[in-house]
């Protein structure tokens, strides 16, 4: 029974990370209709920036996390300005190829500075909480709580602030948003910045219980895509629920079926779902 709860904790941890990454991806898709294949690279850069600030510059974990979020947000805005903005009237295949170009570039740059070795990043939260036999490492607890806080903060930002309202307006109806004078460029930059911040936070939270290396974004971004297809492309609650589904499927699948095939579970699920419902599981109609 304890193992069962342990798996629930593991599923929650994975689900939180996947959910955060998928949230950024789904925002950019829902508002700008760009499937950003480079999002995984932003996640990877986020982990490396935290590593750099913490290990090389000796900053505190929280400071490193904030610094990394600022850097990645800036990078994401730069991508929007230099790459996606000029391509907004191009055929959809161009966005995707350009995103792949960004991905290749960011990975190569990181590899040039840090090499392709696997690195370990520590965090100040190394303790283990023991609830009557149920063991929860502090870092995993931090991930779950951190994800919750971020999701709530994002909701508050979108619902309660004027900037958030303009973002929502543009997601709901582009032409309508233009009619009432919403600055599309500002919204596009904001959206990319938020997606970058979420990716950097997710990476910094997850890095201490995983490894840091240039290809670390690959699996995560593919799972994030699976999640947003599961949850309906562009849907915020869908990204969170989808993240949890994949997180739990992996934690339990890895435990009860096979550890070496656990990464296939998510992709198998996607292939299965899209075979039956080409428009995604909860999609109301594809964009």
């Amino acid at each position: 029974m304890n193992l069962f709860f342990q798996n629930i904790v593991n599923g929650l941890t994975l689900g939180s990370i996947y959910g955060l990454v998928a949230l950024g991806l789904t925002l950019v898709y829902g508002i700008l209709h760009i499937p950003n294949f480079a999002h995984g690279a932003l996640y990877m850069v986020g982990a490396f920036m935290s590593y750099f600030l913490m290990v090389d510059l000796g900053a505190h974990y929280w400071v490193a996390m904030a610094g990394s979020a600022v850097i990645v947000a800036g990078l994401a805005v730069l991508c929007e300005r230099l790459v996606f903005h000029p391509l907004r009237h191009s055929p959809p295949i161009h966005d995707k190829i350009a995103a792949i170009g960004i991905l290749l570039f960011l990975e190569a740059v990181i590899q040039m500075f840090w090499g392709s070795d696997f690195r370990r990043m520590s965090s100040p939260f190394t303790g283990i909480m023991n609830f009557d036999g149920l063991i929860i490492p502090e870092q995993r607890a931090l991930i779950i709580v951190g994800a919750l806080v971020l999701v709530v903060a994002l909701q508050l930002f979108l619902r309660k602030t004027m900037t958030g309202a303009t973002i929502i307006a543009m997601a709901q109806n582009r032409e309508g948003a233009f009619l009432v004078g919403i600055d599309a460029n500002r919204v596009a930059m904001m959206t990319f910045a938020i997606s970058g911040v979420l990716a950097a936070f997710a990476a910094t939270l997850y890095a201490p219980i995983n490894l840091v290396y240039p290809a670390m974004g690959h699996i995560v971004i593919m799972k994030a895509f699976v999640i947003i297809i599961l949850g309906g492309m562009g849907s915020i609650p869908g990204a969170i629920v989808g993240g949890m589904i994949i997180g739990f499927a992996e934690a339990f699948g890895g435990f009860y079926i096979s550890t070496s095939y656990k990464d296939i579970i998510a992709f198998g699920l996607l292939v299965l779902i899209l075979s039956v419902r080409p428009q995604g599981l909860f999609a109301k109609g594809a964009h």
Binding site: H94, I97, A98, A108, P278
Partner: protein, 342 residues
């Protein structure tokens, strides 16, 4: 001057000149390694032609192409190393297997709209990689497959030698290009291009979308399988990293640099980039620092690649020269069609 040079390139005899050049290459190559590099560039070019069918003509971004390449290589490798098949039967089996899997994946994935198709194929590519890496009983896992059969020369030629192998690959490449040229001029090829220009538009012309897209996908995976099998016969050793998604990205770069949807573009793009990265060895590791921005610059400024953009420019020039002021409606610009050049 540039125009004169350009019209030379468009001349029908240009492709024969290219073939003669390729035939003579081993004679003026300064060492066997150069012949080897050229042969491997040709192998990649065959796969890039496959990508050109589904992505260039049909407009569906297939991110599993490297996976199908690896499937071709593994089919040949495993059949010859573990089951003692000789090269040619295993080669045919590799073609059939990649075509069959292409059919299965195509039937499921091609119903999906643009982005979903790219994401789906990305996942398929990744599943192929994971299976090759983890299914150790069948694929030997991370150690890879050794002792792969070389092409059987039936006692006449020894294809383990670099130069004969080079000519073998060249023969396959010429066939692949010839077929692509035929395809582009056929009704089928034009149907593919109609699909690229819009699903609804194509459907309104009475085109059966699923049947044509699936056919294009099967053709493209067969090309990938052919290239993969030749690759395995050349390298004689393969591992799961041959299914790395990086190869797919490489092929997209070759295709885009040369010219997406053109006939000579994929070859020129592939050979050009392979040679540049080979001669600048220090680049090998960091070539993505150049490839990445290159892809971005191409899709923003030269979406039709160097060959494609050049052809458009040539076409405009030739119209200017042929009809300086009168006859505006001479021919519709081939800007969006399939090029029938060298």
């Amino acid at each position: 001057m540039l125009f004169k040079l350009g019209s030379l390139l468009l001349h029908p005899a240009f492709k024969y000149a290219l073939i003669v050049l390729a035939l003579l290459f081993p004679l003026f190559a300064s060492n066997e390694y150069q012949v080897y590099v050229m042969a491997s560039a040709f192998v990649w070019a065959i796969a890039v032609y496959g990508l050109n069918i589904i992505t260039g003509f049909c407009g569906q971004l297939n991110l599993a192409h490297g996976g199908f390449f690896a499937l071709g290589a593994y089919t040949l490798g495993l059949l010859s190393a573990d089951y003692g098949w000789s090269f040619w039967p295993a080669f045919v089996a590799a073609l059939l297997f990649t075509a069959f899997l292409g059919f299965l994946v195509g039937v499921v994935s091609l119903r999906l709209k643009e982005h979903y198709f790219a994401i789906f194929t990305l996942c398929v590519g990744f599943i192929i990689y994971l299976l090759l890496d983890k299914w150790e009983e069948l694929t030997h896992g991370p150690i890879g497959v050794r002792d792969i059969a070389a092409p059987n020369g039936f006692g006449l030629v020894d294809f383990t030698q670099t130069v004969p192998f080079y000519y073998l690959v060249l023969a396959f490449l010429v066939f692949a290009m010839w077929f692509m040229g035929k395809l582009s001029r056929s009704l089928l090829g034009r149907t593919f291009v109609a699909i690229r220009n819009g699903d609804e538009l194509a459907q309104s012309l009475g085109i059966n979308l699923m049947r044509n897209k699936t056919l294009a996908f099967v053709l493209s995976t067969t090309y990938a399988g052919m290239a993969g099998a030749l690759y395995a016969g050349m390298i004689r050793f393969i591992g799961p990293e041959d299914a790395n998604v990086q190869h797919t990205f490489d092929m997209i770069t070759y295709l885009l640099v040369g010219g997406i949807g053109t006939i000579s573009g994929p070859l020129l793009g592939t050979v050009g980039i392979v040679w540049i990265t080979q001669s600048l060895q220090f680049l090998e590791e960091y070539r993505m620092i150049i490839f990445g921005p290159l892809l971005v610059i191409l899709v923003i400024f030269f979406p039709r690649g160097f060959v494609g953009s050049f052809l458009t420019w040539m076409h405009r020039e030739s119209q200017k020269q042929a009809a300086p002021s009168k006859k505006k409606e001479s021919r519709v610009s081939t800007g969006k069609g399939v090029e029938n050049n060298a």
